[in-house]
Subunit: 214 residues, 2 copies
DNA sequence: GTACATTTCAAACACTTGTTTAAATATACC
DNA sequence: GGTATATTTAAACAAGTGTTTGAAATGTAC
C-alpha cells in the first residue's frame, strides 16, 4: 500500500517539475520515470495514459485552489458594496500563494503548468477545466463586469483574455524573466513579487477607457 | 530555375500555415511536404534542416517589418516632442497590417508565428531575433521609457514583458477567440480589430500607476 | 546533342515516442 | 503458510520523427 502511493507520488512530483520546465508535449514519459526512479510502464499502470497523468498533475493544485476561489467570489458577489477591480483581482493572491503549502515552489509550478496548458495545444485540458470549474469562472467574470459597468460584455471578454495571456506568458517564462531582472536591475523578485506587480498592470488594462474613434 | 523557386515557395507557404496553426515542434516535415506537394527530402535539400526552415519562414516577414519599424522609431526619437505612449504603440499598426501585402492573411500568420516562437521552446529563435533585430528593439524600449518618465526602468522591463505575453497569447489563440466572440457576442472581428483593441489595453497597463504599498 | 549541374524522388537510416505484454516480485488476507 | 491480488519489471511493439543516400530525372549551357 505504501509503495503504491509512493510510486504515484514520485511520478506526480517528477512530472509536474518537468512539465513546468519544458511543457507537456516536449516531456517524455521516459524522462519522467527516469527522474522519478520508477519503471516506465508504471505511468500507464497507475494513471492509464499520458493525458490522464497531465490532468492528475493539474488536479492536485486545482482541487485545492478552485474551491477557495469560488468561496471568495461568492462572498464578494453577496456583499452589496461596489467591488473595486483591484480588490477583485487581489482575491487571487492569497489562495495562489497558499499553493506553496502543497509543496516547495508550489505556486510557481502551478502557474507555469497553467501556462503550459494554454500554450501547448492540449485540447483535453480546456475541456477538463471548463467541465470541472466553469461555474467558478462565471462568477469571476460577473464580478469583473460589475466592477466595470461602463464596459460592454464583449470588451470585457477580450480584455480578460488579454490578461490571461499576460499571466500565462509571464509564468511560462518566469525563470528567464527573473534571471534577466537580477542581471540587469540587481532585482531579486520572487513569485509573490511578480504577482503583486501584475495586479496594477492588469487592473489598469482591463479598466482602460474605450477607444473613442476607430 | 523557376522550379527551384517554386518548390522553395511552396514549402515556405505550407510551412508557415502549419507552423502558425499547430506550432513548430508539433508540425512534422511530412505534413509540410505533403501539403506543399513536394518530396520529403526537398526541405533538407533547399533549407538544410527544420531549424533553418523555421528561421526562413519568420525571416520572410521580419525582413520586411523590422526595417520599417526601425525607421519609425528613429523618426520618433529624433523629434523633440514628448511622445505619448499610445502614439508609440500605434507605430506598429500600419507596418503590421502591410504584411497582408506579402500574402493573404500575412499579418495574422506572422503574429501567430511570433507567438509560437515564444511558446514553443525554440532557443535558436530567440538568438536569431536578438542577433538580427536587437538594435531596433532597444530603440523601442527607449521610446517607452521617454513616454513614461515616472516609471523606473525595471518596472518598464516587467510591464513590456507582460505586454509581450498579451500579444503573443492573443495571437496564438486568435482563431479560437474570434470564434468565441462570433458565437457569444455576434461580433465579427478581424485582425486589425484585435490590434486596435489591444492598443488602449496595453497603453493603460504599461502606464499604470505604481503600487504605493507592498 | 553531348556534357555538366541542379533538382527530384523513393527508400532506408537511426532514433524517439506512448503503449502493451507477460513474467517476476511484493503485498495482503484467510 | 498458501493463495489471490497488486505492483514492478524488462522487453517488445507499432508508429512517428528528422535526416541521408544514391540513382533517376530534369534543366542549362556550349
Amino acid at each position: 500500500m505504501t509503495s503504491k502511493q509512493n510510486t504515484q507520488q514520485k511520478i506526480l512530483d517528477a512530472a509536474e517539475k518537468l512539465f513546468a520546465e519544458t511543457g507537456f508535449s516536449a516531456t517524455s514519459l521516459r524522462q519522467i520515470t527516469s527522474m522519478a526512479e520508477v519503471n516506465l510502464a508504471s505511468v500507464n499502470y497507475h494513471f492509464g495514459s499520458k493525458k490522464e497523468l497531465i490532468q492528475a498533475v493539474l488536479q492536485r493544485y486545482l482541487s485545492l485552489l478552485m474551491p477557495r476561489l469560488d468561496q471568495e467570489f461568492t462572498q464578494l458577489l453577496a456583499s452589496q458594496h461596489h467591488n473595486d477591480l483591484g480588490k477583485v483581482l487581489s482575491v487571487f493572491v492569497i489562495p495562489l500563494l497558499e499553493l506553496n503549502k502543497v509543496q516547495n515552489r508550489g505556486t510557481t509550478l502551478f502557474l507555469q503548468l497553467l501556462g503550459r496548458g494554454y500554450t501547448d495545444v492540449q485540447g483535453h485540458l480546456r475541456w477538463f477545466f471548463n467541465h470541472h470549474y466553469g461555474r467558478t469562472l462565471d462568477k469571476f467574470v460577473l464580478l469583473v463586469q460589475q466592477s466595470c459597468p461602463a464596459l460592454p460584455a464583449s470588451e470585457i471578454f477580450w480584455r480578460l483574455h488579454f490578461s490571461l495571456g499576460t499571466i500565462v506568458f509571464t509564468m511560462a517564462s518566469n525563470e528567464a524573466l527573473k534571471d534577466i531582472a537580477a542581471a540587469d536591475f540587481n532585482e531579486i523578485v520572487e513569485i509573490d513579487g511578480v504577482i503583486k506587480r501584475l495586479i496594477p498592470y492588469l487592473a489598469a488594462g482591463i479598466a482602460a477607457p474605450m477607444q473613442t474613434a476607430g
